[in-house]
Amino acid sequence: MSPPVAPPGWSRWLVPPAALSVHLSIGQAYAWSVFKPPLESALGLSGTQSALPFQLGIVMLGLSAAFGGTLVERNGPRWAMTVALICFSSGFLLSALGAATEQYWLIVLGYGFVGGIGLGIGYISPVSTLIKWFPDRPGMATGIAIMGFGGGALIASPWSAQMLESFGSDSSGIALAFLVHGLSYAVFMLLGVLLVRVPRSEKPVESAPSAFDGPQVSARNAVRTPQFWCLWIVLCMNVTAGIGILEKAAPMITDFFKETSTPVSVSAAAGFVALLSAANMAGRIGWSSTSDLIGRKNIYRVYLGVGAVMYGLIALFGDSSKPLFILCALVILSFYGGGFATIPAYLKDLFGAYQVGAIHGRLLTAWSTAGVLGPLIVNWIADRQEDAGKSGADLYGLSFMIMIGLLAVGFVANELVRPVSARHHIPAPREAADVTARQQSESA
């Protein structure tokens, strides 16, 4: 499939909603927990078993983004969005069949394996195209799309819960809910497939610079540069620090204020988790857009440096002031989201727009690593501290110190980022890079 070239007069403001339709859909993955209790009671599963489809989905997200990135660059965003639509929706349909026949392995295969491929390809599908349409504001453009991934769970979580309430939480109710999800997301994502276009020329906006200005590096060469691995560490450390809070947010705020005069109720803790989601989403669009003004290196200095200070404040004074605890946690989560959303623009600055989507896909392995590392650190340490007879805020003090250390490592890695050596640049960037321009000349 050749990339769909925009007709004359096509507005670049049609591309962000196309990207959002995909990201808002695949962001449903973070609302998987809604299905866990009904699946456990309907199919007699343990908590670990019911988490399998989500875990496999996230593993497949990382793998398909890493290995499918070059295909996405070669075949264009419409192909990628179509693949994402087919995989994500058929993952739900297979899961519906699995629930209806009470064959749990089909749910793992469908939602986790097939749907997970949709997650990975869908996640990177609009990145390169948005950067080419918005060379003047790449941070804002990719921030809008990646904000959608955060927003997907906000929509899916209440929607799925209401659906299970209406259809019932037995296996046939779950099957029907999966079926409706699969069909609805297919229709919703179709907007992205139909609307997405690559720009006719490398300068879609006359007054803006071209996305292909400056050095261009292929995905194959990018992974051989120290810059790629520095950014890998930066992303991994930033995400680990965010997950450290996000993973245990509700028990954490309850534990912190358990022995104080203002304990936190279960519903208030749920409110805290919701507020963190809002900060995560706002950070994606807000901080990423700010990076267009102050530069990518500077914004990561803020994420990592100020993030470490926030962790330090929580560790030292968090249990004495609820507003301070909440404020610091919100700032950390906004940096977590910002870190995700700003990384494509950082990659574009260093490696050019030529294969930025494929490079971004490879970098997402840092996310998969952090997804294991963050919860492991916080949960393992909290369990050990509890075994040692500690309680309240003392359960988390050591974890927070480790997070500060990890953020410091990320800060140093960011400082080490320098422009990519000329030996990694592709020889004739413009001819090789401008796929759309080449296509135009071929079809003329």
Binding site: G9, L14, G151, L154, I155, L191, A269
Partner: protein
Amino acid sequence: MSQPDSSQSPPDRRPLIALAWVWVGAPLAYGLYELVQKATQLFTK
């Protein structure tokens, strides 16, 4: 083969832009509304 009329202006995309943003904005607004409802529990309960 007939050549495209260069004097013809491209179609007005504004209705399509509005439709596309409503398409993604409406569910997002629903999600945000539900989020705000939940988040207020932190301060009220």
